[in-house]
Structure formats: structure tokens, C-alpha cells
Symmetry: D5
Subunit: 165 residues, 10 copies
Amino acid sequence: MANLNLATLDTSEHPNLPTSSAVLFRAKADKQYSFEKIASEIGRNEVATAAIFYGQAKASAEDIEKLSKLLDIDHGHLQSLLGGFPDRGKSVSLPPKDPLIYRLYEIVQNYGYAYKAVMNEKFGDGIMSAISFSTKVEKETDKDGNNWAVVTWRGKWYILHLELD
Amino acid sequence: MANLNLATLDTSEHPNLPTSSAVLFRAKADKQYSFEKIASEIGRNEVATAAIFYGQAKASAEDIEKLSKLLDIDHGHLQSLLGGFPDRGKSVSLPPKDPLIYRLYEIVQNYGYAYKAVMNEKFGDGIMSAISFSTKVEKETDKDGNNWAVVTWRGKWYILHLELD
Amino acid sequence: MANLNLATLDTSEHPNLPTSSAVLFRAKADKQYSFEKIASEIGRNEVATAAIFYGQAKASAEDIEKLSKLLDIDHGHLQSLLGGFPDRGKSVSLPPKDPLIYRLYEIVQNYGYAYKAVMNEKFGDGIMSAISFSTKVEKETDKDGNNWAVVTWRGKWYILHLELD
Amino acid sequence: MANLNLATLDTSEHPNLPTSSAVLFRAKADKQYSFEKIASEIGRNEVATAAIFYGQAKASAEDIEKLSKLLDIDHGHLQSLLGGFPDRGKSVSLPPKDPLIYRLYEIVQNYGYAYKAVMNEKFGDGIMSAISFSTKVEKETDKDGNNWAVVTWRGKWYILHLELD
Amino acid sequence: MANLNLATLDTSEHPNLPTSSAVLFRAKADKQYSFEKIASEIGRNEVATAAIFYGQAKASAEDIEKLSKLLDIDHGHLQSLLGGFPDRGKSVSLPPKDPLIYRLYEIVQNYGYAYKAVMNEKFGDGIMSAISFSTKVEKETDKDGNNWAVVTWRGKWYILHLELD
Amino acid sequence: MANLNLATLDTSEHPNLPTSSAVLFRAKADKQYSFEKIASEIGRNEVATAAIFYGQAKASAEDIEKLSKLLDIDHGHLQSLLGGFPDRGKSVSLPPKDPLIYRLYEIVQNYGYAYKAVMNEKFGDGIMSAISFSTKVEKETDKDGNNWAVVTWRGKWYILHLELD
Amino acid sequence: MANLNLATLDTSEHPNLPTSSAVLFRAKADKQYSFEKIASEIGRNEVATAAIFYGQAKASAEDIEKLSKLLDIDHGHLQSLLGGFPDRGKSVSLPPKDPLIYRLYEIVQNYGYAYKAVMNEKFGDGIMSAISFSTKVEKETDKDGNNWAVVTWRGKWYILHLELD
Amino acid sequence: MANLNLATLDTSEHPNLPTSSAVLFRAKADKQYSFEKIASEIGRNEVATAAIFYGQAKASAEDIEKLSKLLDIDHGHLQSLLGGFPDRGKSVSLPPKDPLIYRLYEIVQNYGYAYKAVMNEKFGDGIMSAISFSTKVEKETDKDGNNWAVVTWRGKWYILHLELD
Amino acid sequence: MANLNLATLDTSEHPNLPTSSAVLFRAKADKQYSFEKIASEIGRNEVATAAIFYGQAKASAEDIEKLSKLLDIDHGHLQSLLGGFPDRGKSVSLPPKDPLIYRLYEIVQNYGYAYKAVMNEKFGDGIMSAISFSTKVEKETDKDGNNWAVVTWRGKWYILHLELD
Amino acid sequence: MANLNLATLDTSEHPNLPTSSAVLFRAKADKQYSFEKIASEIGRNEVATAAIFYGQAKASAEDIEKLSKLLDIDHGHLQSLLGGFPDRGKSVSLPPKDPLIYRLYEIVQNYGYAYKAVMNEKFGDGIMSAISFSTKVEKETDKDGNNWAVVTWRGKWYILHLELD
């Protein structure tokens, strides 16, 4: 019987994702694989793996080869679909409407200036990079059996310059 | 000589923050205290401390007492300013314009559906709470001397119900 | 003769609902079933049942089995359509244009801060969950024969934390 | 010592509320009264009482008299402030930014069409009035000590006509 | 020869109107009927008739029968298209772009508060219903041969309540 | 005792209305005059009178003289305030938030294309002028004691040209 | 060899123009006719001719006959496509993105109030009609060989009334 | 007696115009001068003169000297107010709300692509400059006594390049 | 093996680009050509070449001939696709969502007024043309092996006029 | 006599810039200094200098000392005004309304994807930093006496990572 707890993609709801998203999610549903499974098979982080599926991260030649084998997708076809460069940021509307994504956004909305103040004092005038950046999601279960999601962001700090060297 | 690396507040730029924000930031500037200093003095997390300053978190009676002493603000006055409930979310425009805050937002925009897919598969149909929630910012320096900001979010997972019990 | 008082779905008007919505509403129209009938057959609340049809609530394995039988939809097909996780919130535009939905929205717009003030004083600094939440719609007829709609929301109260434990 | 759990108003955050809101909330803070107290004194529902404070409901002559006495506000002054007709809906931004109000809004966003479908089938083609309407907030505590907020809406049903009589 | 003064519908311009709109307007064009003709045949007001065509008003069983005969549309097909409940308000963008509709909107934009002030003083605190409502368009020609459009709105007045009975 | 049913203006809520609005409404409140009273005294329609108060209609020299006398406002002062040309349309936000004004707007939103179709067929390709235009609000009470608001719009029809003569 | 300086229409870029636009532009491309040519053949102004092609102006019976002959389009087909009334204003987004159209818009944005002030003083309180209106584009070449575009607008002036006659 | 047909400025309605606008319009009102008068005195076009008053055009040293004398404004003061560079485009909201300005905008909205097509065919791929640009407003009265506003735009044509020379 | 570092186009993500974009990018992918290669073959700048592919720049007859040969696209077909005039500006949303394009935008957002102030003082009151304009992208590698992108804009300066000659 | 070609700041037009902007621009106007002069005195690039004035760049301790001396501003006062961290991006509206800034924006809007494609092929999947970034404006005069503005951007290239190290 089918697993009812796998992330899927319905292109009626996401008409502007790249063609690769439809192909990858279809294969994932056929195989009944979770992102945890796929990530461990291709040796990448789960969030990065899902980001490849949503067209938000670039797959390497090695990723494509592994995904092709794991998901039984023709290698040349997958290569042609994933060969270009991601056009990021289109999948989430502004502000996000889905409750799960909205809450991530709400944290930025509420604590944005608190983060800025603390980071500026800790690191100086600059930004935490969202490019030289990694992230992960972990699950903790406390002693009362409650689950907690732990999200970690790690980004390089860049000082803002504005002078010609 | 004045420290040029302290977060300050200019009410011309933020005319709709609560009155308490102006009072607290003025005192912070007079004392030349960092949020690290204030947080350690009142025994709260740095981000939570900054959130109180921006009117995004409620101060407890104990917080008010400690802030009043630490910053030389009349206790009754601070109590009356901080006695109500925060009206959150107004300080950050949509989308954020400041580069530091924009990058936090960009992570949600780019990876929102990747987080959703991974979290749904890990925890089921629900959300990571932004209310039963804690966060921190840490600084790491790698072997090449580069600084990295590490942001952690920890929120309780709530399964979505829609039935009367 | 066809019942002219059944909720239907025209995908020209809702091109971005999930595929499952079109399938379920088509079967509902063929069977000429009301949501009251379907809800009582599958043992769920009417609003939750309609929410499943609009892709706003996740159907359980049991829901899928019952819906499949009741509506003569192939079980495997329905399972594959409803197996993923809902991507919520896309069906209603901002602000709502339909007069019925607008009035629900208008109540929040007019009385939002009144609800906040009363709830904060009654429960403290936090929120009424929209996730650990149930709702129902009831019909009352007064002595003059006027009908009244009674909507009930019941959500768990969560206190806002912002500290690492 | 001041009660830290009373709803207050900071006009820096709400510069476009009517003058009466500032006057009423100031007096409420001075008296340290909750809305529960004020509502019971003037014989109105708590939400309606708070709505008067936010300029979203019209006070009757009797309300004004009672509020004037209870809060020690000059009767003529209060009468001139509350004599006009409310200009509703300006206090909540679109979409709401405060987490508590956002969740009320989110319920409408997610379940708007489910409510519409269920109400249309139950009552016919029309709307639940937001004008011939009453509401209340109640607190329930379950056996595990968790608090639940229960919001009730009761609105008259009006059938949509479009014909000259 | 074809009449060049009949309202028609081009679905390229209105992709989100209900399927019934396309069917009804196609038949109207084939028959070369004006709304005046159709309205008088089905015994309804012209604006209400056009509103049915645009999916903004619900057709009764009798309307469907008459439209089916008048326009040679299969009765069962029309019944299935018009059997649900209208999802109103999507056809006009905000603000309206068509000059004719924009001018109707402009009247509300310019005189909205003047109407509110006059109505509030005449009727009290409430609204003119847009639901218990009828409207018509009439043509007058003055002595200089100029045409004038006269639009009438007639809506029930509802006093705003906010108390539980 | 003060009349609690007179339209007033609170400039906190309308900071961008012209200075004349504040002056006229203050005088109206002092005199405790309704728009019906003022309109009959200056010999203009009630809606037009209210439109002058809101800065949406230009007062003639005669209007200014009469308003000055009726409301005890210095004639020169009123003349200098009302001497320019109205800058219309700023008072109503988009879409309107006040429930009374929203319902006027909703009529245009729902029936805009129905009006267009009926008017085009009746008058040809053009518009009903919102400039060569008059309007009124009337009150009807039916045999059951219900009040009905009747709004009339009368605008000249202009055919759309696009050719040099 | 094809003329590379003819205005064409790509429906991928303009999916919501009327069907007639696609038909007319296709025929124009096949014939390799400029708007100057077409306008002179049908005896209308160039801008008006192009406006018919974009669905912004109504073609007369005579226009349709001439266009049908000139462009070899079946007369009955063209008549059915152009028989209704234009639904204007959808082709240009807000603000315009194309640089040529943006600059027209920018003139209104920068000098809108200057035009208003000058026109009000010259003509009184009213508007220049965009309906009883004609326009043309002319080309001038100065002595240095520079080209200048000269756009003329000629609109009737209507005084704003607001009184019942 | 004061002229009731002079353009004035109320800074409540335009809080973000430059300080010079308030000073110039105040002096204009005191002198009771029309823009026609001022323009002819300073030797500039009426629209350009009004544009200086609204902060949309830069005054030359000679303009400042003449305006200072004509309007009795201290020369040094006017020079300091007008010495910088205009920050254009803020006075008109998007889309314009005032009916007069809206109609100018509507012409661009309706005929934007018609202008583009005609201009592209006449001049090639480029734009009519809004910078190397002049404009005027003229009044015509036809034989029936109707007034017509004639607006002329004259802009240099620039071909779009995209190559390094 | 396919090159994974070539820019490609997925029309699901860009449904409103011109048909020519799909044709050109398909041929580019088939040939596995970079823009550097194509630009050098047709003798144009890389950015201008890419702009032709995205429908943002007009191809000359010579460009079309060269592209047709280089990419094996039927000359007549390419000529008919590229024969019209570009309808620019639709490909980038506002604000840009893709991180690379957002950063270009951010530079304008942050330093827009700094550029204006410096340019105005250097050149007078006017603009740097975006039409009489060229641009290029260069790659520099510093001694530490870091790559730097250098973008150059060169636009003619036009003084703003507003007078008839 | 005053220089009419210096950039100035009118706080009516920019009410939300930091207090330091008003102070610095006031002193600049008093001294009648250009940014070229100030930049050369403090040893920074002109654009960076202007960015400090607009609150978009952080001044170093040395900058503050030099600005204080050069502009006769009290050192302690300037230090307290400039001691915090810039809150960037608020000065430019979206899209920019001023013609000069709009054209910078238009370049990004038109050529954004062309830049992305060229940069991705040249540098890989990543971004040109707007933080590790410098910029300058230069003036060129060609042999015909035309002025050209040359803007250079130089930003470090960062490859997008998404993996934990």
C-alpha cells in the first residue's frame, strides 16, 4: 500500500516550476522514496536534495548520474533538464500562504531587526551570506514525547565594502 | 571615545516602533552597552533581548526590574511602557529592504518548499511553531580566519488537526 | 432532476487547486451528494470534509478508503492524488473577492485588535493556534423564521517563548 | 505594583486610530482595568467593549455615560469624541502582521472556500452577515491543564437578491 | 448582417470566468440576442440577466429552463453548469481598467465618504446591503438629444450589532 | 445633550484631507448640524454638500458665502481654504476598508461587467460620465418597517471617439 | 526579403488580448503592411488603426469591411470577432515595463499636477475627456537631422457637476 | 474679492512635496496670480512654470531671480530652496486618483501599445525622450462653444543601442 | 558528455517570453554553444547577444542571418520571429526573486540616491540614458585566485529640458 | 552667489532618512561643497561619500573625524549620529519614481536575465556580491562634445553552496 507521507508535486498548483521538478517528483512518487532516502543515496543533505527537486539548487554531474540511476530516469534527459542554471525564488509567494512556510517567514518578520542588531554587534557592518551557506533540519524528541524541529543556518560573514581597491 | 559598533535606533527611520524602543535604545547608547552585555546582565538570550528592545517580545516583571536598574530608567516608567502586549511584525517591510535582513528572507524564499517537504516527511502534516520557539546566533571562526554566523531555530512540531474533539 | 443547491467546482475559476479537487468535486456532482452527506458517511466534520475537497486538509488512509467507495473513485488513483501534503492557502485571494468569504475576512479586519486585546488579557502573550484547531458551522432558526449561521473556532492557546531551554 | 497583563495602546504604533482610542486606553491604563472588568461594568460583551476602544464599534449614549463614570473621563469630552460614526477597518494591515491576528486571518485564508461550500449548501446562495452579527471569546481548560480559546460568530443569513421588487 | 452592438465574451480576455459564461455568450452571439431581449423573455431585470451570464448571480431552476429553450442549450448541460453557487467578484480587476467600469468605481472612490456621512446620518450606524439589493439601468434622452444613463441601487439598511442576544 | 448621530471628522484617522475639511467638520460639530440641515440651507444636494466637506467637490462663491454665515466661519478664511481646485480621490483606500463604503465598491466589483454589457448595448461604445453627473440618496421604509437606501446615479453618456475631426 | 520594421504581435507575450488581435496582426505580417499603409487604406488615423488591432477601439461596420478586403480575412469571421465592445486597458501593466510606454507614463507621473493646475486655471474644475478625444503621432526632423516625435491629444473639456438638474 | 479659480497647494494633502512648493504656492495665493501670469512674467511655458512649483523642474538662476521679484520672496531663501536637483515623480500616486490626472494616465493605459506600434514603425526601435522633451496645453473653443484642451508632447527620438563603441 | 554550464531556458518558468526565445535557446542547447561563442561568431557583445535571446534587444538583418547559419535555424522562420520590435521588461519580476538579479537590483536600491547626487553634480539636471547605452561584463581574477565580476555601464547624458524651442 | 548645482536634501521629501542625513546635507549646503570636494578631502570614493550622507554606508572613525572637521559639525554629535549600523534600502521606492534612478533600475529590469546568463556561463552558479563590492561614476566627453556617464561595478563572485562542510 502506498505511503501517505511522502512529499509530492502537483503541477496544477505549481505551474511555473522547471520541467525537471515534475520529472523528479514523478519518479520519486513511483519509487515511493523519501528525501531522507534519496539524500543518503546521493550523499547530499536532505534540504539540498529537496532544493534540487524544486529547482532551487544546481545538481552536479555526479548528482545527476546518481539521481538518474536511483530514480530510473534517462541520464541524457535528466542532464538536459538540469544542465542550466537555477532561476531561484519563484516557488514561494510573497508573503508565503502555506502555514508551514509562513511561520519560517514570520520568524524573519518578527525578529529580523533583532538578528540584525545582534549580528552587527558581533560581526560588524555586513551580512550573513545566503550563498556561502549551508542548512539542515533535525528532529528532537523531548522527554514528554514532543517533537521539535531544529533548523540550522550557517553562512559566511561578509563585511560591506564600498571602495575601489 | 564612543564605540562605533553598537546597534542604535533612529526614530526617523522607524516612526512606528513602540515608545519603549526609543527609551531603551537611548539608554543603551548612553551606557554604551552591547546586547551581549545586556543579555548577560538580565540573563536572557541575546536575540530575545534585542527583540524586547524592538517591541517584538514581552518583558517579564523580572526583565523590567533588571533593565530598569542596568540602564538607569525609572522603574515605573519602564513598567508602564512595557506593561502591555507586543504588537509584532511591523518593523520589517515586505520584502525586507535591508541587505542583512533580506538574506534571511531570501533563504525562506528559495528553500521554503524544500524545508516544507523535508519537515513534512520527517514530522507529518503540520508546522514548526514560531511561538513555542527559541533561537540563537553564534559566531564561528574557521581556520582561515573567516567568520561564520550560525543561526539556530528550535520550534515545537504541531500536527494539524481539523476536527472537534 | 438535478439538485441546484450543491457546491461544485469549475476549474476555469480555480486553475491552481490540486488535481484531487477536480476529481473529488466531479464525483460529488455525479453522485449529487452534499457535504453533509459525505461528512456523515466518512465520519468527519463538514468543514473538514470540504477542506479535503479544496486541498486544505490532509486525508487519512481511512478517509481515502471511504471517499473512494462512497464516490466510486479508483482507490489507487485517489491515494496517489491525496498521498502528499497539502500546500495550503492558495485558493483565497487577498483580500477575498467573493462576498461570503469577504465577510469572514471583514470580521478579522474590524475586530482583529479587539480579539487580540481580549485574548491577551484572558490567556497571556501568545496565540490561539490555527493548527491545533477545530471548527464547525451550525444553523439556527429564530422564532421569526430567520436563519443564523453560527461558526465556532476552538484553538489551543500557546504562550510565546523566545528562550533556549 | 502595575499589572503587566493589561492590553494597552501606544499611539506611535497606531497613529491613525481615532482620538477616542488614545483617551480610553490611557484611562484604562490609569485605572488598571481589564476589558473583562470594563465589559461587566458597562454591561456589554468583552469583544464589543474592546471594539469600542479601538473605534470599531459605536458606543451608545448609555455606554458613554457608563464609560465616563467608570474611567473618570469628562462626559462632554467623551461624548464629542464618540459622537460620530466609526470609520472601520483601518487598524489591521493586509495581511495582518501580528501573529495572533494573522492566525485568525489564516483560518479564513485556508478554510474560506470550505466555509462557503458548507454554508451555501446549508443556507442557499447568500452570506452570513458581519453586521447583524455577534461574537464572543471563551476560555476552556482541558483535563491536562491546556487552555483553549473558543471564538463564536453568529450572523444572520441573507439570501442574495438582484431583482427590483 | 450581424449586429455590431451586442455584448460578447472573448475567453482569451477572461480566462477565469466560469464555463457557463462561455456557453451562454456563445449562444447569445449565435442568436444575435441583446440582454434586453433575453431579460424580457426570462422575466428578469437586464442587469441581473447579464450578471447570470458573467457568473455573478445564481440562476433559478426556472431561469435555467427558460434560458435553455431561448438559447437552444441542452437543459441538462446548462443545469450542470449553473447548478453550483457563484464564486463572485473575480471578473473586475482592482482598480478596474476598462474606462466604463472605472468611472463607476471612481464615483465610489470620490464620494464614498460623502455617501457614508449622509447615510449614517439618515439611517444610523450600519450599511446599505449589497445582498438584499436590486439595481437597474435606465436611459433618458434630454431635450437636446443627449443620452443619460440612470443607475439605481436599492439596498436594505442593516444596523450594525455586536452583541449576543 | 449632544446628538450622537452626526457625521464627524477625526483628523487622526484622515491626516491627508484638506485643511478645509477639518475646519468645516469642526464648525458642523459645534453647531450640531446634520448634512440634511446644511444642504437645505445652502440649497445643494446632501451628497454634494458632504462632498464639499470632504474636499471632493468645489464650492462656488455662493456656497462659501452661505457656509460661512451658517457655520460662523470667517468668510475670508473659508474663501482662502476653498479657493483652489479639489484634488480628488485620496480619502478612500483601495479597496475600501470601511464596511459601508466596501459594499458600494462590491457592487461595482460584482456587477461591473453586467453594467458594462447592458450599457454598451443600450447606448453604444462609450461611458457614463462621472463628471457630467449627479447623485442622491433617498430613504424608503417598506410596509414591514424596514428601511431601504436608494442611491441614484445620473451621468451623461459619451460615445468614445478616437479620430481627429 | 521580409521587412524587419513592422510591428507584430506574439501571443506568448500577450496572452490576454482578444482573439481579433492575433488574427489581425497575423494578416498584417503576412501582407507585410505597416499601420501607415493600413490606416490610409481604411481612412482612419494611424493610432486609431493600431488601437483597433490591440482591441482598444471599436471598429465600425465600414472598418471591418475594409480591413477584411485589405487583409484577406473572411468578412463574417472578422465581423464576429469585432462585433462586441472593447474591454479596454488590459494590455499595459502598471507601471508600464516597456521603455517606450514607460516614458509616456513618466510624463504623466512627473507633470500630472502641473497639467492639472494649468488646465484647472484655464478651463475651470473638470477634466479633459479621454473619451471625446482624438490623438495623433507626427514625425519631425530638425535641421541637424534629429527626429522628434510629436504627440497631440485633443479632448473635450467637461466641467464637473454634482447636482441633480 | 478673492479669485476662486487659482490653483493652490494644501500641504496636508501633499506632505512630501519639497519645501519650495509650499513657499511658492503661498506667495502665488497671496499675489492672486495665475500660472499664465507667472509664466509670461518669467518667460517660460505654463506647464514648465507649474512644474517648478511642484518641484518637478529645475529653476535656472534667472528663473529664481524673476520669481523672487515677482512673488516677493527673499532671493537668498528661494535660492537655497531651489538650489538642489529635483527629486521627481513623487506627487502622483499609482494609478492617479484625481480624475483629471487619471484620464491622462488612462490614455497611456489604453493606447500605450498603439503608440508604441506606430512610433516603432515610424522611427525604428527606440523611445520618444521624456527628457529632451517639451510640452504645452492650449485651449480651443469650437463653433458650438465647447472648449477643447489640446496637449502637445514633443520628444527627441533615440534609437536603442546596446553595443560598446 | 553535455556541458552543465550553459544557460538554458525552460518555458515553464518563463511562459511570457517571445516565441523566438524558446527557438533560440533550444538551438543553443542543441549546439552546446555558450554566449561567448555566439557573441564572437555574430560580432556582438555578450550581454547584447543574450538580450536578443531573451527578447530584450532587436536583432539586425545581419544578426538574423548569422544566427540562422550558426544555429541551423531556418532563416525565414527566424526572420518572422525576430522581425517585430521587442516588448521589453517583462522577464524580471518586481523586485527580482533570483539572487543574482536581486543583487544587481539591490545596488540600485541602496545607492540610487548616491548615484543621483554624484551624477547631478557632475553632469547637471538630467539622466544617464538607458537607451543610448552600452554595457559589458568582464572577469577579473585577483592574486588570491578570487574571481570578480566587473560590470560597466556607459550611457549618454541628457539634460532635462521642458521648453518648446 | 550660491551654487545652483549642488545636491541637497529636503527632509519633507525624505522623512525616513536617518537624522545624520539632515545634519550632513545641511552642513554641505552651508559650506557649498560638492561631493567631489568632500570625497577628495576625506579620501573616499564619491559614491561611497554620498552613500554615507544618505545613510547607506557606514562611516569609519576616521571618516567621522574628517567630516566633522571639514563640515564644522561637533565631533561627539556626529559620532553619536553615525555610531550605529546603517539600515539600508529605504530611500528608493519600488519601482524608483525619479527618472535618473528609474533608468538605472530599467537596465536591471531589461537586461537582468542577460546578465545572469552571461555571468553564470563565465563564473558558474552563484552571484556577484553587492557587499564585497565597489563602484564609481566617471565622466567622458566624446569628440562631438557629448557627455557620457560611465558606471562601474566590481563585485566578488561567490559560488552558491548548500552543504554543511
